[in-house]
Symmetry: C2
Subunit: 121 residues, 2 copies
């Protein structure tokens, strides 16, 4: 029951596309990630996924359009919807995600970016 400083937690890791867990709320977790470039097309069959942009501008690609999500904004990707987070001009974008602990990083897709362990920081 301690205050958790989001920016201070971001200072604890550098790797891109590697979520780190900062809190658990019931069966959901709060994770932080540093995004740069393009991720992987995937979906989560059973779980919604919330992204909150803490720094920079996230370009959330869907199969038929792109939604731009700026600092101070959130977006919910509903279960079953294919998405691919990207950043522009090699910007490193910091996001907080809120999702079920059971959510697989890249859904059913296996990719070199896929992480199965999220360090707790």
């Amino acid at each position: 029951m301690k205050a958790i400083n989001i920016k201070e937690k971001f200072s604890k890791f550098n790797k891109n596309w590697h979520p780190h867990q900062i809190a658990v709320v019931d069966d959901m977790q709060v994770i932080l990630a540093k995004l740069k470039g393009e991720f992987v097309w995937h979906s989560h069959e059973h779980e919604d996924e919330l992204f909150q942009v803490i720094k920079g501008t996230l370009h959330m690609h869907f199969r038929n359009r792109v939604e731009v999500v700026k600092e101070g904004e959130v977006i919910v990707v509903p279960k079953g919807i294919e998405h691919n987070p990207k950043t522009i001009d090699n910007e490193e974008v910091h996001v907080l995600l809120f999702e079920k602990i059971s959510t697989a990083h890249t859904g059913n897709v296996q990719h070199e970016k896929t992480q199965t362990e999220y360090p707790k920081i």
Copy 2:
């Protein structure tokens, strides 16, 4: 699947201690509230509750101590733990909460501040 601007959503209501829902993630909801003064001692028997401070400084009172939560910080209040959010010097503090949709505003306590309906904005 649209970006939701948190500060713009805060501009849509003025009442203190009255949560407004901005998003749903599986069986959880994201709500915004403007806090000023003291709330009500209560706990949630079955649900954890996450507070993220968007503006100002939250003083989260527990029965045996106070945790100060500043802008850019989050705190998780575990299920079953009595808590009472307060602000100092009549500051209006803006918080984002993640919690189960089933979470009752003031737990099992009935109080004039208790809200049963959270407007969707």
